[in-house]
Symmetry: C2
Subunit: 941 residues, 2 copies
């Protein structure tokens, strides 16, 4: 059994690459990346469009030739014709497979060849071969292609041709029509154009229970009264926000959709003509519309034309953009509230008693040195700036905001469920079930199974169907666990390294006495540390992506779906740990275990643990968060995302240029599918989703410390949508449309992040901020119930005479006067108590209060989220009403039809056939019961 | 518009009430209770059986008459014939409607008449009338029937007859065949027997996308190798546990099922004969089998024959018993572990250092008086018994056990999801969607809407479709909220009353000096208090059930489904609060705010707050739990459930006897459906589920304090299953089979209880038990890391001279020696500290530890539950494989069929018709591609 597949590559076909990258045809382009292998029940959504075109074309061919062609401008028409149709000029090319023809000069290009992923044709094929008693052909995969067969190129080539022919035979068996074209202008590449006839499409549609819109249109009921007026007003007000796309205008009319087979049954033979399919030709103008009304920064304030996106790219990508759109939309209120909370902080900074007390010149408290020997005493007033800045993020409004954001996340989830349901309904996916198990085993899996059974055969001489057991996979699993732990360890080590860098430079800084050096160095250290962190995160992100892929390949998952899920899961964990470890360190560990003056804790015996500035670590957390978030977004998302595809495209182009420099002239006359060679293949949605979910993490996880996060996310996403749109429209080969009902594993990950966010925010509020100590002071210790005296209460006393030998400051007179007693921020017993410097009762009381707050916060927020979840129905009411209405209409239709049939049979068999005796027996009554027959028997379906 | 409906009652028909209550026919009996109105897409599941019978019968009628009749013993055959068939003896009675004929002597019986709920026929009817342009008939409801029309009986009767006739006309329009029989022996009751012909059943089945098993059988693949051997071994070992029912034997063969309409399409005209339906005749022996193999205590150790139950009672009841069975099964490991934990407590009671210290005669600590004045000093040794008993439930194993039970609950949920999926598959419900919106509005709702629109019409002279808005419902909602709060308040008040009873009698007790009186009174008080609590719970449960129903009626919910859900929700809240308030009081409030010696806290200035015995409140919690749980189970579930139906049946019987005493002789010759008059109507599953969910609460919520709860639940449930089975088989009229895919709202309630259980158990362990103080002592304060000295550590000192005047004990020399310093259980500063009797640092430290434990416990358990949720797939692997296999088989079938068709068309139109030109165009190749046609065209479907 060969893992390579018949050596095909397939290739986006029919892409009119005119105007450099604006106009392309509406034919499917195969996704060629390894990432994107999920639920490709593929191309078939595509085929809906084809069916629609065909419904016209087939008639058009017989009756008049102009239906489709009218939608093309004349010169386009003639220009595309030879690329888009078979050589008979009649049958349209639905799909193109490409393969490399062995030429000694370009044999290396084999390495770079692309293979098709699972699609409608392989699906068809697989079924066919299975029926013929042959094993289903393995799904060919590019990345395995050359590896084991490098040494015998010729044999390999023959073998390939043989298998290719077998494959093509199977395709024709399935009813597809092929046309070969090896004589292209692109050297070393052969093309097989495929036409799928009407009956094949019908059959496939039937198997998939594809729902088709019928001619029957019903009006979507608009609620009358005040509600209707308001909604009209709203829709008028948001009018400019909608894209200039036709489909948005007519959404109070819906075509009645029903499962394909039913429609077919209803009018079996006349299907092609009277099926009544809506003839929504996927014309070239869809592309133009998308380019103008979607993939442009100038329309950033508008809704996306999701229906069009779905029509062109398929449901899976449509769902991604719908999700991104909803997320961005939901970020608007969140960032508004965030800005208000921030402004509240700014407005109340002058009324904040603790920072007033710190800044007040009269309250001039002498603080203990922050390190042994090198440091000296300092005045609390020096912390005035930090204290005031801290208040911006550490005020009661923050607590409200983090509760708000937790509920916001729950609302977002619910709204997404509803939006998804609505899209499912509008896209007629309601009956569609994703084929989970029928996903074909991956080639690697089959290869491994084959190896295993071969080995076993050697031993036992008995052939039996094998599968990979846990024992076979044990080494891979172990490697996985070890590597994951190792990678997480690397992250920790690097974070620790950065900490050490900060600590050591800080220590060096304290040795210098020049104040300007000091402030300069401090700034330098903070900036460089943050930048190092960011760079490390960016680099490790790439490394982790590769590691996760490698680990998943090691695991040999059975199906593509399982492969993708495992890969996403691993990547998610690694990237999340990578992005959030430094932040978690600052939020929960920094400044916790520092000891006290005279007995500071040391790492490696020489580096003192970092402390937070007076006013809590919240300020530092906020800085770290904003740098990481902004840096990641600017560099990773935008720079990488725009730059790299452009670069790759350039490289491809140059490479091809060099190879066929002499053919430059001919290139202009290339077939559409040939020009598409130079586009970057579609890399799957995983990176897009991953980026967004990490951003969602930034928005929700530490929102208590950084209320502006939603705003930054919003600004990023407004660009991101159009950027992604541009990329999909112009930079990438058009991916094969894949059907999907939901966003899959991403929804679960979002839920997970939202859940974790609740507990993390609870901890940030209670442990990182000074919210709880302030409350405890106010209600337990304050003499007058106000915050006056809070600063004094949080500072413990230290008797200078208690310094151990060698730990006292070298410059005790730094402040200009001798110090007997200094203060430090901690809850410890004073020197004059029985147990000096021991943790005091206040500490425990505050700790208990902090913990109680965590419990209350977590449970209240979880309860509220559950209530939100419960209050918002998953299916929007209007959708469920419409579904119901459709059902009733359908029933009505069938009732009429049945009656027509019965009448027909009645009229045919006047006495009622013997076999139908019971069916048409006269209605029996022992008493007279009135019986009316007033149905209309017209069958106007 | 009339709310009464046509004045029908319907009635279980064809129930052979032979041998008093053993053998009944397989025909549907209408559920007549108001409770059970949920997803009655009803009777249709039933109709599957009817179809099956019919498939035989229709042939049997034409070909040979013996197919069905063979399954009856001869004399049964003749005996039933006239009751089960129309007067022509051919058409079978599928359903019976009953109505009351106005006779002056029995006009009051109108009040007791039953009305049919939503069923297949009203469904059919509704559609029919809607088509005829008339408004759909309101769903008639018994409880509204008489109210507004009591004054004009004659008009009422005429109106009823008119509407009845209209109704009957509609039924016949829909294709049903009726036969009236007013001449029965039961006075005042008329019967309309209904026969549903084959084509009507087909149509209905089609609308419901009913899946039917085809003749095509495929073998369910058994995994080979070691796994298979083990499973064979296991199935052999559990062989005696399976009921002696045929269906359990052949479960490695499954009939290929497919949506009805597809099958019909495939073989349209010959459907009745060659459809290939499995002919599983629902013979009378099903009932006999159920009676012997299910509704009998002697088979308590066996699995339930769920398939049979479903066949006889429908999916909804089948699911209840399946759920109950799984729950009981899952209780086995839980109760095993619970018993082990309890035994561990018993075994280690002698090694428990704290109780050893309390009981040791040397450690003879003098304790402070427990109340002012009346009480005196006492020895700690007196608490020895309680301390030892407490250890049984308060040991480290309990913590493990409550984690185990939280995971157990998660596992139970997951297993139920899987079982449900499996049943859905086995019962061919996989494609079935419950019609949510299409549920018809309830009559009350339509009545209210009519009233409203009439009122509006008066004002505006404009008729328009109205609906109830929030404003209309506002008074009802307010009443709901107020009443719910009031009811909860009543519960609290009663619990508080019981507390006061205990406090006051205890106070009286302390005034007496006779030790025997004391101990007697203490016992009496505890017992009476517990019994009062139990009685109050039992009474309030009934009251609350009525109140919840009344409140829900006030709300006027739109559909039956919404009515049921609201009712269940309210009932659940009230009953839960009722059952758990006393327990929560003991667990979390008792003994918390008691003050300290010398300044005890008082309620109403004279009653001291209750304190727990030394050793924590866990012991008392345990006692209260076991009494409530056992009492509820014994009295409410078993006594009420068996007793009341028996009683009601007796009353009915006697009543009817008295009325028609002279007709006693004739009674023996009654039609089957007449004898069923004397059975209790089916009251819905709500009480059964409610009972079980409250029990689930007892098992999970406070399991940390009572590890034996699962065992008690298990014992109860083993009886409960057979009890319910007996009730359903023998005591109740056979309910109309209702289709259901899941257990609906109950699953959500279960999830809710399981979630709440985690946090409650966390609090029980950390606050009610002494687990955390022990840990804190061991790791923070213990000089040698052991538990020695723990008791001393938990006791604070009190200086006797600090007693305020009038609060010192009256008998200071009660112990025989003068006391200077006494001890009490609390963490307070000693008399010699600077702040005597103030809460100490230890208190805060322990509190912080307790709270930290709650956070850790809750989050760890939630995480573990999520992991369990994630690890266990919702769809069992074999089921998803089988679904996949079925799909493939189906596809294969259709492919063959299509090919057959194509061949046929090809042979008919030799040149290929013009309209099929594209379809059959010769396959085009510009290069030669091999093309093989080796399909088998045999259509052996």
């Amino acid at each position: 059994m060969d893992v390579n597949g018949p050596g095909y590559n397939n290739q986006g076909n029919g892409k009119a690459h005119q105007n450099q990258d604006t106009i392309r045809s509406g034919l499917p382009v195969q996704a060629m990346q390894k990432n994107e292998r999920s639920t490709h029940i593929p191309g078939i959504e595509k085929e809906v469009d084809i069916i629609n075109i065909k419904g016209i074309e087939d008639i058009g061919y017989v009756q008049s030739d102009s239906v489709l062609l009218n939608s093309l401008i004349p010169e386009e028409n003639t220009r595309c014709q030879h690329g888009l149709y078979f050589q008979d000029g009649e049958r349209r090319v639905d799909y193109v497979l490409t393969y490399h023809i062995k030429k000694p000069s370009s044999s290396r290009s084999n390495r770079h060849s692309y293979c098709f992923t699972d699609n409608a044709f392989t699906r068809t094929l697989r079924r066919g071969t299975a029926r013929l008693g042959r094993p289903p052909p393995p799904q060919p995969r590019g990345d395995l292609e050359v590896a084991p067969h490098d040494h015998s190129m010729d044999y390999h080539e023959d073998d390939k041709r043989f298998r290719r022919e077998e494959f093509e035979g199977n395709l024709t068996d399935m009813g597809l029509e092929l046309e070969k074209d090896e004589d292209t202008k692109t050297p070393g590449v052969g093309f097989v154009k495929i036409h799928a006839p009407w009956h094949v499409l019908c059959r496939e549609a039937e198997f998939m229970k594809l729902k088709m819109p019928t001619k029957k249109v019903y009006e979507v009921k608009q609620s009358s009264g005040v509600g209707a007026k308001i909604s009209t007003l709203v829709s008028k007000a948001t009018e400019p926000l909608h894209p200039n796309v036709e489909e948005n205008r007519v959404h109070n009319v819906k075509h009645l959709s029903y499962v394909f087979e039913i429609l077919k049954r209803t009018k079996c033979t006349k299907a092609k003509y009277s099926m009544g399919f809506e003839s929504n030709i996927l014309c070239f103008c869809v592309f133009q519309l998308l380019y103008e009304e979607w993939a442009s920064y100038s329309v950033f304030y508008k809704y996306q034309p999701i229906g069009l996106v779905r029509k062109y790219f398929g449901e899976k990508i449509g769902l991604y953009f719908a999700w991104l759109g909803l997320y961005t939309q939901m970020l608007i209120p969140a960032s508004l509230v965030g800005v208000i909370v921030f402004l509240y902080g700014c407005a109340t900074v002058d009324d904040n008693i603790p920072s007033m007390e710190i800044c007040h010149p009269k309250n001039n408290i002498t603080m203990c040195p922050l390190c042994d020997k090198a440091c000296s005493y300092w005045k609390l007033m020096e912390a005035c700036g930090t204290a005031r800045a801290s208040h911006l993020f550490d005020n009661p409004a923050t607590v409200f905001f983090s509760i708000f954001m937790a509920l916001w996340a729950a609302m977002f989830m619910e709204h997404w469920k509803r939006r998804q349901m609505r899209l499912n309904y509008e896209w007629d996916l309601t009956g569609f079930e994703e084929e989970e198990v029928s996903d074909h085993p991956r080639a690697e899996y089959e290869f491994r199974v084959m190896q295993k059974s071969l080995k076993k055969e050697h031993k036992t001489q008995k052939t039996e169907k094998e599968k990979l057991t846990c024992r076979d996979r044990f080494p891979a699993y172990m490697t996985n666990i070890v590597m994951m732990l190792l990678m997480i360890g690397v992250t920790f080590a690097i974070v620790f390294g950065v900490i050490l860098y900060r600590i050591s430079t800080n220590a060096a800084l304290h040795l210098s006495n020049n104040p300007t050096t000091r402030s300069n160095v401090r700034l330098t250290v903070k900036t460089t540390a943050a930048i190092i962190n960011l760079v490390v995160i960016l680099i490790l992100d790439e490394v982790y992506g590769a590691v996760a892929r490698w680990l998943t390949v090691l695991e040999v998952p059975k199906t593509d779906k399982s492969f993708e899920e495992r890969l996403i899961f691993k990547t998610f964990i690694l990237k999340f740990v990578n992005a959030f470890t430094p932040i978690i360190y600052i939020a929960f560990f920094r400044g916790r275990l520092v000891g006290r003056p005279g007995s500071y804790l040391y790492v490696f015996e020489s580096y003192r643990m970092e402390e937070c500035a007076h006013g809590g670590c919240l300020m530092e957390l906020c800085i770290q968060l904003s740098i990481t978030m902004l840096g990641k977004q600017l560099i990773q998302n935008n720079l990488f995302e725009i730059g790299i595809p452009k670069l790759k495209k350039l490289i491809r182009y140059i490479k091809s240029k060099r190879r066929s420099f002499q053919e430059e002239e001919r290139e202009k006359k290339l077939q559409r599918y040939e020009t598409d060679h130079f586009l970057e293949p579609f890399a799957g949605l995983t990176p897009e989703y991953m980026e967004m979910i990490i951003q969602f993490g930034f928005v929700t996880l530490f929102v208590a410390s950084f209320p502006l996060a939603p705003l930054f996310a919003l600004l990023n996403n407004i660009i991101e949508i159009r950027l992604d749109a541009k990329k999909f429209v112009a930079e990438l080969r058009r991916p094969v449309a894949a059907r999907a009902k939901d966003i899959g594993i991403w929804y679960n990950l979002l839920r997970g992040v939202a859940k974790v966010a609740v507990i993390i925010n609870a901890f940030v509020i209670s442990f990182t901020s000074d919210f709880i100590p302030r409350l405890v002071y106010q209600y337990m210790y304050s003499p007058d119930g106000s915050m006056h005296g809070f600063v004094d209460h949080t500072l413990s006393y230290f008797n200078v005479s208690d310094f151990q030998h060698g730990k006292e400051p070298m410059e005790p007179l730094h402040l200009g006067y001798p110090v007997d007693m200094c203060r430090y921020k901690d809850y410890r017993e004073p020197p004059w108590s029985n147990t000096p410097y021991v943790i005091s009762k206040e500490f425990w009381a505050v700790l208990a209060a902090r913990l109680a707050f965590v419990i209350v916060f977590q449970n209240v927020v979880m309860l509220m989220s559950d209530i939100v979840d419960w209050l918002i129905p998953d299916i929007p009411k209007d959708i469920s009403l419409q579904i119901h209405k459709e059902k009733i209409l359908m029933v009505e239709l069938f009732m009429k039809e049945e009656q027509g049939k019965r009448q027909f049979i009645d009229s045919m068999t006047p006495g009622g056939g013997k076999e139908n005796s019971n069916k048409h027996a006269p209605i029996a009554r022992s008493r007279s019961i009135p019986h009316t027959h007033s149905h209309t028997h017209a069958n106007n379906f």
